[in-house]
Subunit: 269 residues, 4 copies
């Protein structure tokens, strides 16, 4: 368990890069965590793709999504999704918003997402929220507090919610639980789609959902999955580090391909 703010920033940045590496988020999507000692604040990256998020990108916001510290960096437009869920749900400690390709077909077709295997059980009942119902035709993104509150209300005491023609939002009692629930609700959606193509979907019954969720949310399976995702990410990053190190050496100065300065500059934007 991360017990200091620095460790939490590190863990949140890892969660960002894990979700990118596992194909849940691309340039868009974000993940946040409630402040460990001040429940009236939450931490989330500045405006950038999750794959690029490092601990130093993590900023603090109040639950009505005002930055706690002065800064001139750009903020995520949809941070009301996070702030409003933290306001409505004191038990929620981490939130992820994404447009994963496995889940989007459900957000577009309005087909119901249901747990179809034990590892998908932790998503529970998945309500469907449509911005049209309360706000008519919009740009679909949630940028106003009332939009965030409408979503949080629809989520109720659930953990995953579909957002029509837009994406999904996932909550949890920790960063790791939220990452676990996000990844396995996406895998569940993939499997449900394939089973449907085979002609029949046999979902878990209510008691199976409850028992399987409890089983998989214990520390053992949670740690095992987290260690696995961290390992995969670290391996991928090690592969890049090899190249960066190789091209940084004077011995290979003749290779003009990997333009380091240009890249460094781009990252500062």
């Amino acid at each position: 368990m991360a017990d200091s703010l620095a460790a939490l920033r590190e863990e949140l940045s890892l969660a960002n890069r894990i979700l990118a590496h596992e194909g849940i988020v691309d340039a868009f999507g974000h993940v946040s965590v409630r402040h460990p000692t001040d429940p009236g604040r939450f931490l989330i990256s500045r405006h950038r793709a999750p794959e690029l998020v490092m601990p130093e990108d993590i900023l603090e916001y109040t639950l009505d999504t005002e930055p706690v510290h002065q800064t001139n960096v750009r903020h995520y437009g949809e941070r009301v999704i996070h702030g409003c869920i933290y306001q409505a749900r004191p038990d929620v400690m981490a939130v992820c918003h994404h447009h994963a390709p496995s889940v989007m077909p459900y957000a577009i077709s309005r087909a119901a997402m249901v747990p179809v295997f034990h590892l998908g059980a932790s998503m529970g009942k998945v309500p469907f929220w449509d911005s049209r119902d309360d706000f008519g035709s919009t740009a679909l993104v949630l940028v106003k507090p009332e939009e965030g509150r409408s979503l949080a209300k629809a989520l109720g005491n659930g953990w995953v919610i579909l957002m029509g023609r837009h994406g999904a939002t996932v909550a949890g009692t920790s960063i790791r639980q939220t990452v676990f629930r996000t990844i396995y609700s996406c895998k569940n959606a993939e499997l449900q789609t394939q089973a449907r193509l085979l002609g029949h979907v046999e979902p878990l019954d209510a008691q199976e959902i409850e028992l399987a969720a409890a089983y998989n949310l214990r520390p053992g399976p949670q740690e095992r999955a987290w260690d696995y995702w961290v390992k995969r990410l670290r391996d991928a990053e090690a592969r890049v580090a090899a190249g960066t190190s190789a091209t940084a050496k004077p011995a290979s100065a003749g290779k003009p391909k990997a333009k380091k300065p240009a890249r460094a500059k781009r990252r500062k934007r």
Copy 2:
């Protein structure tokens, strides 16, 4: 914003390799940009797969697709697609032609492609052009000016067009916008196909399309997505650079596997 010809060549070569790395183009497909100071010219690579395109491969053409400078390298056969769109549409600054696997099923089945999530909104209405209508049975590729003009006419004031049994062409007001629209129209197509398999497709309505397109084409989301794709490409290229550097060192002279000279020769063809 790229403000010199050298920077534009660099950006165009990056766009080529990004589109290859994201799975939009393979050995075929191409992307061009209008000349920054002479609107009567455009820049595009010589005849080679986008993944291999470097700044020095970029050539200049007039809008009727004559090379501006003498050269003995091979040219793309289908550059009329680019020239004719630049002629018909003074607002278009960059064009991409591709056969992405996500979009091709629409070019083959004639099913309509429609925006199904906010990030797909920037493609707008997608007309369908069939070479058979004006030219009968051909090799399907566009090599004559009249073929390019027919396509440009069908595109009208749109941004994406499907080409029957062939592919798609995408336009934009900058390289980055064209890359964004290309990648997200492909993702939109994938999602639409999956939603259709679930039994229903709920598209964005006209106002949602307009608002979501405007939202996503702002500089913030555009830069965030571009930085993400550049990062992914640079990481992939760094991994290769590590290997190239390793095998180039005398210490590993005993490894005959990676035959550098053969490869260098092949590239010169």
Copy 3:
């Protein structure tokens, strides 16, 4: 053939990482082997994702799944799957339990899995076992001896069994045969699903299944496939080793990205 316990541990750890690398297992799933000289014992990793399993993680258990040696590491919850199959089937020398995305749609839809190409023949007839039949609504995982015995009974003298809303279990007369049968039953499932989408599935007939299984389970094809999977895994691991080596060098001490100590610590849990 591995002829010592150390070699067998090495081979079993390789099998774990091969199955992870080929996309059969993720954080969950496991593979075991019967003890080479004591048929009343089997070897399986301690509780961790297969991709992370090294020879030193392999533990010994009796067939009623008690650890042979005292240890304070965590054990897999579902090792009764392995123990009960070894008890019921003296001819079985290795067992794999997984939730591969290709096979899960059959475990969810109850559609029958049948051999549709020669390389899928070695799975033979695939029974369907549902925990609800004997045990009602559970967490779906098999943790009690009676659950393992029920599964083993349903497997009968077969080699692959589907488990409703949960996964599949595969047996074989050696680690390599079990890996082969696991990977090709998954490929068979993928192909069957796609053929079904095209409108018709023409399965192998009974004699074709028998002849093709016998052909492919000969040493030649088995070694060829094993060498291929080992090569792919070794290549992937070499890519990571390059990065790990690069970041471990003092010359690149300025790169804080790949935090080696944190990672080493995590692995010890």
Copy 4:
């Protein structure tokens, strides 16, 4: 054009590894070339997965598939596929046999494969051959001369043939053309399947097939595609070389992970 036997071995080994890298072949499948000066012979690898094939693995056979030189290495079981096609078709200079996942659903469902985009045109008409018709229930693999002759007869003057519940075989007038036709017939199959799921497949008409095939089989497109596949393969191999080089260095002797000696031994089998 490869003009010596050594260059041809190099090119054939490249073709093997390209087809593996592009996902056409896995542990199984093979590709051959007719001897450049003796049309009564052909070259093909000894019995091993295409991804592992190096120039020194290439052996010579007569067209009735007898090895020209004494050797104690294992041979491919199905080399009659190659020998019999070279006997029946003097215009064929290279042959590939595979079980690619894109094409297998057609071999299983008996749905007709037709060119649906210009790059798929070079496959032409694709006959369907079923081992049951002439030989009843077999292991499905072709190991007898009469089986090879039956297949060659069914191929007629075509270039691609489907083999029921087994795979496909592709011919061409050179290694590069065969690789091109193999890869693009697989891509065509993928697109046809997806278009079918969208509800309609509009194939190329007979004249479009002829014109598009002629256009794409010209040297320009052929070289562009070959250079692209070579580049992708070389990049992948460079990434591995980096790791191999890193772990071979004394500085990283403390890393026991990548066991080089064990691997070297395995390769010699």
